[in-house]
Each structure stands twice: as C-alpha cells, then as structure tokens.
C-alpha cells in the first residue's frame, strides 16, 4: 500500500576510486597542513580559517537544506535528502579544524591583544562582544545548535528507513521550523565572529546574509556534484531524470544570482557612500593585486556559472551541472580567501599553504560522505514522500 514497498534499493558501496581519492587527498592535505604549521604558523592559521569557514559552509548549508526540504514539503528533492544528511556530518571535522585556530588565536585576531584594545577607542567599545571568552562561548553555542538539530533530523530520517513512520516526518517539520530562525541568527554571528572581526574596525549589516548565501550556494553545489556523479553511475533510481536535474540546476542558478545580488548590494552601497570608516575594506581588496582576485570572484562566483546555467536545456545536462558546481565550490574557496587573506598580506600570496586546506577539505568531504554511505542507505527508503519524489515531473 505505502510507497516504500515497491522501491528496491541496490545497496552498493561507493566507487572504490572515489573513496581512494578521498583518502589520498585527506592524507596529502594533512601532511601539507602540518608542514604549513611547522614553517609559518601565522600564515597556516589564516589558511586554517579559510578551510574552516569553507567546511562550515558545506556542513551548515546542508543542515539548512534538510530543514527547508521538510518545512517546504518539497518532493523532488526527497530521493536525494540523504546526501545532505551525510554532508551534515562534516560538523565533526569543522570542530576539529577550529582547534588549531584557537591555539594560534593571538596571531590571527588583532582584537585579542589587550594592549591593542587599550590603545583603540573603537575596539574598547566592542570589547563586551569581541573578547576571547565570549567568542569561545558563542562558538560552542553555534555548534550545539547546529549539531543538536542535525542529529535529530538525521536520527528521525534514518529510523524512518526501518519503521516507515510518518510521525517522524511530522516531527522533523516542526523541528525545521524552530531551527531556521536559530540558524539565521547563529550563522550571521558566526560569520561576524570568524570573518568580519578579522578586520575589527569594519562593519556591514549585510555580512551575515552574505556568508549565509555563499554557504547555501556551496552546500547545494557539493550536493549537486554528488547527486549527478552517483546518479550517472546508477546509484539512485531509474526514475531520476532531467526533471530532477533541472530542479537542481534551477535552484543553483537562482541561488547564485541571489548571492550576486547580495554581494553587489553590499559593495555598491559602501562604494557609493564612500565613507572612510567602511570603504577601506574594499579599497584593500582593490589594490596590490587583490583587484584580480576580486574580479575573479565576480567571474567565477557569478558570471561564468550564470551563463552556463541560464538556458533551460543546460540545467538538465549532467556535464554542465557538474562543471558549474565544481566552479562554484572553487569560487567559494576563493571568496573565503578574499575575505581572510588581505588581513595577512597586502598582496595576494599563493604557495603550498594556500592549497593545504582546500585539499584537506575536499578530501574530508569525500571521506565523510563515503563513511556514511557505507553504513546507511543512500536513499531515505522509508520516507513517505519518496515515491512522489521519484515520479516528479515538471
């Protein structure tokens, strides 16, 4: 009677070469990270922030999409929700990546020096918020909120594989409603803490929205990549077709356009008003070679994937989807680099320090995903919306 009985899942392990690649990248990344920290701890620390905020984007973005899937009653995405549920597990490496940053805190966050704050009136006025104890407490609160909701969503979803209990869907819908406002506040403050406060004099009310939007674009890009890759190799159902692909493409297209809107608005308003207390942040990013990075972000985070995905047929092509997703993932790294590194260096730098964390992050994404996929179904087989999702038609 219910949908799940007619669905037979070929339970397969992920392709061995992908898993091997994941482990190889993780090991190489770890070696490079250790080498970076041994040779130049400060530079390694700044790069650590890039890798950390990148992985946090993927993890938190994935949890956000789980919540949205439930609360919006989305159907087309149900067959792929497990991909998001696997990616949410990246919250564990996110916490691990925060540890070395805390250990090198003083060389990274200017406002953490008592003597600097004492000599600076603006920083003094911020010190009730920007101080190390409160910073650490806030970080713990964010992680608790994110992981608490993530593990309950996941628990209900995994349990549903066995008992097909619709009440679990209802429970997750209620939790999703509670989670989304908490997420909005926590991720905004998270980005202010870890990224905006690198330049403690600078402020922008849009910044939280900017990081959040970048995060969900990246999480969706990673998800799209996994879905298309695995779907091509027969890991999902026969019913997965261009209608599903189109939905991924359209959502990616919409969100990257929204990101561009947010990024442009933030830039335009500061540029137009031209107040010295704000504009220095963009001026720093428009000189000594940083202007090339700025232009590259505009191209790779917006224009190139925009034109790749703008036409209706292209949103359905697996190749285009994978390429644009890969470009957006790389662009988000570049975006984090652009947010963080001008604090470290007056002009762009590039060496093994800068590739250590991207390699490690990509490796971790694959490894975490593979470990989960080995243990659990790749598809939420007990979900009541699954059959509707497979049958989805534009």
């Amino acid at each position: 009677m219910s949908a799940h009985e007619s669905i037979i899942i070929p339970k397969k392990e992920l392709p061995a070469n992908i898993v091997k690649l994941g482990w190889a990248l993780t090991v190489i990344g770890l070696v490079l990270v250790v080498l970076s920290y041994v040779t130049d701890a400060q530079r390694a620390g700044f790069n650590n922030i890039i890798g950390f905020t990148f992985l946090a984007s993927v993890a938190v973005g994935a949890v956000f999409f789980i919540a949205i899937e439930y609360i919006a009653g989305a159907v087309w995405s149900t067959p792929f929700r497990r991909v998001l549920e696997f990616l949410g597990m990246l919250l564990v490496p996110v916490v691990l990546l925060a540890i070395p940053i805390f250990l090198n805190f003083h060389s990274l966050y200017h406002w953490s020096h008592a003597d600097v704050v004492a000599a600076d009136k603006v920083l003094q006025s911020k010190s009730p918020y920007l101080n190390e104890q409160f910073f650490a407490i806030r970080f713990v609160i964010y992680i608790v909120i994110w992981s608490l909701f993530y593990f309950i969503f996941r628990h209900n979803s995994l349990k549903q594989d066995k008992d097909n209990d619709q009440a679990r869907t209802k429970k997750n819908i209620g939790l999703a409603a509670a989670f989304i406002p908490l997420l909005a506040i926590s991720i905004s403050l998270f980005s202010i803490d870890w990224l905006m406060s690198l330049e403690p004099h600078w402020f922008s009310t849009m910044f939280g929205v900017y990081y959040f939007t970048g995060s969900i674009v990246t999480a969706l890009a990673v998800t799209t990549y996994f879905v298309v890759l695995l779907s091509e190799r027969g890991y999902f159902f026969k019913g997965i077709n261009e209608n599903h692909y189109y939905s991924f493409g359209a959502l990616l297209f919409g969100l990257l356009s929204f990101w561009a809107y947010i990024a442009f608005s933030q830039f335009m308003l500061i540029w137009y008003a031209n107040l010295p207390e704000e504009n220095f942040w963009f001026i720093t990013r428009w000189q000594n070679g940083w202007e090339y990075v700025s232009v590259a972000i505009v191209l790779f985070h917006f224009w190139i994937p925009y034109f790749m995905l703008v036409s209706r047929p292209s949103k359905m092509k697996p190749r285009v989807l994978k390429q644009s997703a890969a470009i957006l993932i790389a662009a988000h790294f570049l975006d984090m680099y652009w947010l963080v590194m001008p604090t470290y260096s007056a002009s762009p730098v590039f060496s093994y320090y800068e590739i250590a964390f991207p390699i490690l992050s990509i490796g971790l994404i694959i490894v975490v995903f593979a470990m989960q996929a080995k243990k659990y179904n790749l598809v939420p087989v007990g979900d009541p919306k699954l059959q509707r999702g497979i049958d989805f038609h534009l």
């Binding site: 911020k126 004099h201 402020f203 359209a250 947010i262 509707r388």
Partner: protein, 462 residues
C-alpha cells in the same frame, strides 16, 4: 485533522471537491454577471468618498504647493515618501505570487494570483501619485524624470537612485501589467464564449485577441508565461532594492546600512501579502469562493507573513546590533533615539506589528482562523506603514547639528492624501472584482485533482 499525522505520500488538492470545468467557470463568472449586491454599492460609496477626500487634498496641494504638507527642515521627506514606499511595498505581493511562486511550482498560488496581480497594479498607481506630486511642480518634472531633449536645458541626473526609481517602477508596472493581461487572455475568451449580451461579446472578443483554445495557442501561452515569470522575478527584487537605495546610498545614519536591499524586499513582500490576505478574506466570503481559495491557501499566506515578518525583525535587530558594534557614536544615537526618543511610539508600533504579533502565526489555530488572520494582517499593514515613517522621520528629525533639530507634524492635507490613496486602491479593487474574473479560470482548471499527468489519485476518479 491536526491531531492525526497527514499522509505525506499523497499530494493535497489545491481546491476542495471535484467541480467540473463548467461549474468553475460559472462560479468565477457569477460576480460579473449578477447585478451587484447592495453591500458592493455601500463599499463603493465609502471608498469613493475616501477617493474624493484625496482629490480635494490634491487640488489644494496643486493650488498652494507642497507647503500645505507638514514637511520642513530638517524633515524634508514626510508622508509623501512614506506613502510612496508603503504602496510600492504593497505592490510586491502580486508579482511575487504570480512569478516567483510559479517558478517555485507552488500550485496553491493559482486561486489568488489573479487578484493579487491586480492589486499590484493598483498599489503601484497609488505609489506613483505620491512621487509625482512630491516633485512640487509635476508639470515640469517630465523634464528631469525622463531623459528627452527639452527646451529647459535640463537633463536627468543618472547618478541619483531617485532617477533609477523612475525606471524601476515603470518597468515593474509595465511588465506586471503585461503579465497580468497575458494570464487574462484565455479567461477573456471564456467570457466571450459565455457572453449573453452583445456589448460583452464585442468587448471580450476584442480583449481576448482571437484566442480559440487551440493546442498551438496553449503552447505559445505556456512558453510566454514562463518567460514572463522569468522576467518578472528579478523585477520583484529590483524595485524595492532601488527604493532602498534611495536611502542607503546616502550618508545619513539610519539610512546608510548595507542590509537595506534584502530587508526592504522582505518587508515589501510582508506588507503585500498582508494586504492580499485582507482583500482575499473579504472577496472569498463575499463571492463564496471557499472551495476555490481553501483554508490551506490562507494558512500558507500566513506562513509567508510569518517568515517575511521574522526576516524583517532580523534586519531590525541586526541594524541595532551593528549600530552598537560599529563604535560609531552618531550611528548608535540614531538607533537609541528611534527606540527611546520622541518618536518611541512609532518605533514600538512598528516592532509590535511587524515582529511580535506575526509570531502568533506559529500557532496553527491562529493561522487557520479567518478572524485572526484578518486582524493580524491589518496589524502588519499598520506596522509596515510605521516602519517607513520610522526610517524616514526619525533618521531626519535630529540631524548632525542639535540646534537644527525639529519635529515632523503632519497636516490634515497629509492625511487627506493618505486617505485618498486608500480610496483609490479600494475603488479599483471593487471595480476589478465586479468587471473581471477575480480568479484565473483557465489556470484553476489545471490544478483540479486529476489534471496533472503525474497524478496518483486522491481518492478521486480520473
């Protein structure tokens, strides 16, 4: 219903029951064919009177000049700009429902899209009058609003966001109107085919542009509709973004803040949905559309009101937090002054109506109560009007030089024009529901259970 778990494996029907296509046509056409009820005339008398108050105020304004308004230094923008932003905001729901929700494949939008779109057009008209008369001498404004070679030697200032507004609002109006008309074409054809009098037959024949319900017509229609939805989507965001630029590009504390664009757009959708909700509840009741516009639709509207209201609340709090975090004394002063200065009542009205009372919609009981939905939607409209008042007046009234501080006191002509704009809006709404189909006949047929190729049965026959 609420105690048991819904069956998520089945799609909920957008409309109640299984009416035939002919019944649907009849139900929707009924208000057009019937001689209006007495309460329609009473309504028209009230809105017409309000409209006349507006006309009198306008005449006096044109005779005397903008000095009849309460604006002066330091508050040089008063009700004119408050009302403009308010009405443009109201005008955001229609195209959001018809374009963005269409792209998001939200079928429940079908029943309400038509009159939400109509309300968009009327609201934009209401908004436009304020900016035109705000220019002081609108007969000369042509020269500096539109870039055409003229004898005054005046050229438009393209670096001003006020000028961008001219283009943004015009584009939005034109595209919304074309989109609305596009959706009306098949319905005009239905009305033509069902017409009983010659006048109707001729009128609807002309308006339906030769539509014959052929397969090829539908194919073109669907494609055009999708393209228009794609066009209209960025416009929904662009209009209020540009309106927010009017303030945010300046260096006035309280106006210059980077979150303004998405915050204004969310606020616009918030107020627009509230206004649609108000009109929806009345129309649904008056014309007995209960089976076409279900409680589920009203509940979903309330959910969107809750979401957008909370986004707006996020922006209020983020602004306040960053004003403190910036360490900028003037910035912080403006925000503290907003909340605890002489206009504290406006600020807390805004906070209450926009952030606090919509939180009641967390309760399913309140979300599904017609009376509560109606009252809370009115609260939203009040709150959103006060939001613009707070942003504009409180940011201006205590400027950088304490010796030039002042208060803004509106005159009766300010209120006259505000009342007049409501009169114009509701008069147009009343005329619309009488003379045009308030629900999209062709579209609603596509969401009857069984109309979709993927349909899996809803306990209903195919």
């Amino acid at each position: 219903m609420s105690s048991t778990v819904l069956d998520y494996s089945k799609e909920l029907s957008v409309i109640e029951g299984l009416p035939s296509a002919a019944t649907l046509d009849e139900m929707i056409e009924k208000p057009i064919n019937d001689f209006p009820q007495r309460r329609w005339f009473i309504g028209l008398a009230i809105t017409g009177t309000m409209l006349m108050i507006g006309v009198v105020s306008l005449t006096w304004l044109l005779w005397k000049g903008v000095g009849v308004w309460g604006i002066n230094q330091p508050v040089a923008w008063g009700f004119d700009v408050v009302n403009f932003v308010f009405w443009v905001g109201i005008g955001h729901a229609g195209t959001l429902i018809s374009a963005i929700l269409f792209l998001f494949r939200q079928k429940w939008r079908t029943g309400i899209a038509r009159f939400a779109e109509a309300m968009t057009l009327f609201a934009v008209l209401c908004a436009v009058q304020f900016v035109i008369f705000h220019t002081g001498r609108p007969w000369l404004a042509m020269a500096w609003l539109f870039p055409y070679p003229n004898q005054h030697g005046v050229w438009v200032n393209f670096t001003s966001p006020l000028e961008w507004d001219v283009f943004a609002v015009n584009t939005y109006f034109i595209v919304s109107a074309v989109f609305w008309y596009l959706g009306l074409i098949p319905d005009f054809a239905t009305l033509r085919d069902r017409a009983t009098t010659t006048i109707k037959k001729v009128t609807f024949s002309i308006l339906s542009l030769g539509w014959r319900f052929s397969n090829r017509h539908w194919q073109h229609y669907e494609r055009a509709y999708l393209i228009m939805a794609g066009f209209a989507t960025p416009l929904v965001l662009s209009v209020h973004t540009i309106v927010s630029f009017d303030f945010a590009v300046s260096i006035i504390p309280g106006w210059h803040t980077t979150i303004f664009p998405p915050y204004f757009v969310a606020g616009a959708i918030f107020s627009g949905f509230a206004m649609v909700q108000n009109v929806l509840i009345i129309t649904r009741k008056a014309f007995k559309f209960e089976t076409l516009i279900t409680m589920d639709t009203i509940e979903k509207m309330n959910k969107i009101i809750l979401v957008t209201g909370t986004i707006v609340g996020y922006a209020y709090i983020m602004e306040f937090f960053i004003a403190w975090y910036s360490g900028n004394a003037t910035e912080l002063f403006v925000f503290v002054n907003r909340a605890f200065g002489p206009y504290w009542w406006a600020y807390w009205t805004m906070m209450t109506c926009n952030l606090f009372t919509p939180q009641l919609f967390w309760s399913k009981k309140i979300r599904t109560s017609l009376l509560a939905s109606f009252i809370l939607a009115i609260f939203v409209n009040i709150g959103m009007w006060f939001e613009r008042f707070v942003i504009i007046v409180t940011s201006l009234h205590r400027d950088f030089l304490p010796s030039s501080w002042g208060m803004f006191v509106p005159t009766m002509w300010d209120f006259g024009m505000l009342i007049g704009s409501f009169g114009l809006f509701f008069t147009l709404v009343l005329l619309f529901v009488k003379f045009l189909p308030a629900i999209a006949m062709a579209e609603i047929k596509a969401v009857i259970p069984g109309a979709q190729p993927t349909h899996h049965g809803n306990g209903a026959s195919h």
